[in-house]
Symmetry: C2
Subunit: 192 residues, 2 copies
C-alpha cells in the first residue's frame, strides 16, 4: 500500500472541512482517519489527541477570520470600516459554520494570546480609531461590537430569528447603523 502522506497541517485542514460539513461537535479522529483511508491510530503520529485536533482547527479558524477581517478593514475608516468588519464576521459564520463554532473552542491562555483571536481583538480595537473615542470608551465599544456580532451570528445560525418578522437581514442593518450612531454620540459626548 502506498503511504497516505499525512501531516499535521493536512489533517487539520481536512478536519476543518469536515467540521463545516458535519458540525464541529461531531468532529472526530475516527472520521478524519476514514477521510484519509487510514487507520485511526495512524493519526497519533501527527496529532497527540482529539483535543489537539480541535485546538488546531480552532486556531485555523481564528487565523482565517483574522486574515479576512484585516483585509476587509484595510483602507477603510469610521462607519465604512465598522460595516466591513461586522459583515466579515457574520459572513464567515454563515459560510463556515463549523469553523465559526471551532473559533469558540476554549484555548489555554498561551495559545489564545498568540492566536488569531488576539489579532481579531486588535483589529476591532484599531478599527474604532475612526470614531475618536476616549481611551476607555474605545475598549467598551470594542467589546460591544464583539459581543453583538458573536451573539447575532449564533442566534441567526441557530434559527432563533427565523420564526419572527421582519427578516434578520433588516435587523442586522438597522442594528449596525445604530451602533455606528451610538459610537458617534459617544465621541461627541467626550467634548461636551
Amino acid at each position: 500500500m502506498p503511504r497516505a502522506g499525512l501531516s499535521k497541517d493536512k489533517i487539520i485542514a481536512a478536519a476543518g472541512n469536515l467540521a463545516d460539513d458535519e458540525g464541529f461537535d461531531s468532529l472526530t479522529l475516527a472520521a478524519v482517519a476514514r477521510l484519509f483511508n487510514v487507520r485511526l491510530p495512524s493519526l497519533y503520529g501527527h496529532v497527540a489527541s482529539v483535543h489537539e485536533l480541535k485546538k488546531g482547527v480552532a486556531l485555523l479558524a481564528l487565523h482565517s477570520l483574522a486574515e479576512k477581517t484585516e483585509e476587509a478593514v484595510a483602507g477603510r475608516a469610521g462607519k465604512d470600516a465598522l460595516i466591513a468588519l461586522v459583515n466579515t464576521h457574520r459572513d464567515f459564520a454563515r459560510q463556515h459554520p463549523g469553523l465559526f463554532q471551532a473559533s469558540r473552542y476554549p484555548l489555554d491562555g498561551q495559545s489564545a494570546a498568540l492566536s488569531g483571536g488576539a489579532r481579531l481583538a486588535r483589529v476591532n480595537h484599531a478599527m474604532l480609531r475612526g470614531y475618536a473615542l476616549g481611551e476607555e470608551d474605545r475598549v467598551h465599544a470594542t467589546r460591544l461590537i464583539g459581543s453583538f456580532v458573536l451573539g447575532f451570528s449564533l442566534l441567526e445560525l441557530a434559527g432563533s430569528f427565523s420564526h419572527s418578522n421582519p427578516d434578520s437581514e433588516l435587523s442586522w442593518k438597522r442594528d449596525v447603523e445604530g451602533l455606528d450612531a451610538l459610537f458617534q454620540s459617544w465621541a461627541k459626548e467626550k467634548h461636551s
Copy 2:
C-alpha cells in the same frame, strides 16, 4: 437492594447540577448513573437517549432563565427594565455556566416554540414597550439586546475580556447605558 426512586425529573435536575459542575459538554448518562448509584442502562426507563437528557436540561435552563427574567422585569419599565433584564441574563450565565451552555443546545422547532426560549423572546420584546419604538424597530432592538447579552456573557465566561483593561464590569455598564441611549434616540427619530 432498595430502589433508587428515579424519575425523569430527578434525572434531569441532577443532570443540570452536573452540567454546572463539570460543564454541559461532559454531561453524560454514565455520570448521571454514577450519581444515583445505578447502572447505566437503568436510566433508559426514564430517558430515551443522551439527546433527550440534554434536551431536558436545555428546556430546564430556558425555563429557569425565563422565570427569573419575568420576575426581574415585572413592575419595571424603560431603562430600569432593560437593566434588570440584561443583568438577569448575565448573572445567570455566571452562576450557572452549565445551564447557560445548555440553553443553547439545538432544539427542534416544536420544542423551541413551547420552551422558555420563546417566553424569553416575548419578555424581551415586551420590555421594550417602554421605549415607544416603531413596530419594526422594536424587533430590531429585541434582537440587538439578545445578541449583545448572549455574546457578552459568552466572551466574559470564556475569559476573553480578562486580559485587557478596564474590568469587564465597566464595559457592561457603559454598553448597556449606550443601548438604552440608542433606543431612546430611535424613539425620537420616529417623530422627526
